[in-house]
Symmetry: C2
Subunit: 362 residues, 2 copies
């Protein structure tokens, strides 16, 4: 007896892959068999997630040879050194080119496991089993992998698409409320850049979402993945449209690196970053004030930050300049013309940017 | 007044790129301008090559912003740690996505600079300026980048094609004779896998090649690049035919890792590896004994090794098993049906493999 499973496809020609969303997915042996073809599987997880879900997943994967490697939990460990440790485990166990690396965890685990898979033997199969809302709606889809450098977030990495994304929604029941909220920040982003109706739907369902309502979360995951899959299918390597997915992220990454990785959750930094990007859109006379207020209000109601303490505007600007979206030294921003309509620009007033930062830093 | 420059193309659709071969190429400003579009260029070189050619190249690149980073010379430094140092330089100098990384040196420099370019900001432009024969005929073409792991050679890496290969043949004049011979090993490989006429041409030109005859070397580079470009164009990511380029390499890599990187030059290990692969082809009743003798004789006349000291067959087998060409635990070999005709197989007699190793290890 199987559970109801939603099925989307990221369309990338011969590298297309399914996103499966369902309750109890990691215990569905037939499903796992269909999507994990390798006989040797390295499960990369962390010390928080593994005690909850690893045994169940390993049972579903038997009789394959599975080895589990557990990383310390947290963005501060998302480094090239940690990836080197994953590679050491692959080599020590003599995993061949036909092995698979499976990420069981949140965005940090997925980013590092995916990067290790992309550079082990110049690329082996990679499977995502995201266990946080943020990973299920965002980081597990689209093939961006990598690690941080002391000089900036995600500065080292690769594009390496998974062969399947297995999102088991039961894992959200054990997610700390703070992490659930952080995941909702990326969900708000999809509404803002692409879908005003979805944004309005979120405004109407704040209480259900914060309470962890299963149906509401399943809808949120599905709609978020649809939007992301569509954008990625049209611009896999971010030469254009995909940059819209960075809405709030140029500001957010600077918040994370200016405050030291680990103090803010990624989703929290993105929430504050989206508030700044919305304010900048309004200062630039693109977004009207009422929409700015709706955005601020939704972020606040979701228990997410719109402001950042103890960071100077000048420090923010320096961290923004090393961000990957800088082209020829000029910071490019994703701004809004309206809720649901985003665009990329390097054509804006520097004073307005400084003014925006002053309004959100304190 | 320009020098005569040969021009080939590696056909990879929108990622096609030119291979330019000529005397004094690195001093040809117009040529450099045409093929290096970035304004920020990180030149990766080593402490041996840089004193000879860096100033000339930097002059040709001006007024671009160029930063040079010099690696210690040698295969033993081809590690993830060294690549991390290249990344540190890129970050410290705030190089953006639109920068280029240029490798000035041999295969080790090219492999590491290319790998750094492939993972910096998920991939930046990469240009090869190979200064050894081995790099000009082989490693600079085809997009394989990476580093060694204590557990095996080139176990960590990526496919990242250069945007141009600039082979200045004047650099061969300063190449130590041992390195020239090591480069000729890969040249012999092209004859063996694809072109019996080229093999015969090499037999007739041994003395000229060892004397560094410019015309002979230019022909060798051009023909080797033609064969490699053709194979790579048809199978970029080594799902099939490209594996033929590994002729002698499964054995050779095991020699390198069994003896510790650095004692043997890569080309020397490949020479001994080709001798073993040819012997195995003969033991397997594929290649006739006269052809085996021709192959041994050419390798010896080029001053290259056909045998390996102080390594046990069992040790070789263990190192061969971790090689990337192992599929489902079985070592795949590239064998010869005749000079000029290679194929990949996992269907061979294990006893013959052991016997082959015994004949070449002492």
């Amino acid at each position: 007896m199987g559970t109801l499973i939603e099925n989307l496809t990221v369309q990338l020609g011969t590298r297309s892959y399914p996103i499966l969303i369902g309750e109890g997915l990691l215990g569905e042996r037939a499903m796992i068999d269909r999507h994990v073809r390798a006989r040797d599987v390295l499960i990369v997880s962390n010390t928080t997630v593994a005690p909850l879900y690893l045994a169940n997943l390993e049972a579903s994967l038997s009789p394959r040879r599975t080895i589990a490697t557990l990383l310390p939990d947290g963005e501060s460990y998302k480094t090239l050194d940690t990836v080197a440790r994953i590679l050491d485990v692959l080599v020590a166990n003599r995993f061949g080119r036909d092995c698979a690396v499976l990420a069981l965890g949140g965005g940090v685990v997925g980013d590092m496991a995916g990067f290790a898979a992309s550079i082990y033997q110049r690329g082996v199969t990679f499977i995502q089993a995201p266990t946080t809302l943020l990973a299920q709606v965002d980081s597990a889809v689209g093939g961006k992998t990598g690690v941080n450098h002391p000089g900036g977030k995600n500065l080292i990495g690769a594009f390496h698409q998974p062969s399947a994304v297995l999102s088991d929604t039961t894992t959200l029941a054990t997610l700390p409320p703070r992490e659930l909220r952080a995941g909702l920040a990326e969900v708000v982003k999809y509404g803002l850049i692409r879908d005003a109706d979805f944004f309005a739907w979120l405004e109407a369902r704040v209480d259900a979402l914060l309470a962890g309502d299963t149906d509401a979360l399943a809808h949120v995951i599905r709609r978020s993945c649809e939007i992301k899959a569509d954008v990625v299918a049209r611009d896999e390597h971010e030469h254009g449209e995909r940059a819209l997915l960075n809405f709030g992220h140029t500001f957010g990454h600077a918040v994370e690196s200016a405050t030291g990785y680990g103090r803010w959750l990624h989703g929290e930094a993105v929430a504050a970053g989206m508030a700044m990007a919305a304010r900048m859109s309004c200062e630039s006379r693109l977004l009207d004030a009422a929409d700015l207020q709706r955005i601020m209000r939704l972020i606040e109601r979701l228990g997410l930050p719109t402001h950042v303490d103890q960071v100077q505007p000048q420090t923010m600007l320096e961290h923004m300049r090393i961000d990957k979206k800088v082209l020829d030294g000029r910071i490019r921003l994703v701004l809004l013309r309206a809720i649901g309509q985003a665009f990329v620009t390097a054509d804006y007033d520097e004073n307005r940017l400084t003014h925006t930062l002053e309004a959100h830093l304190r």
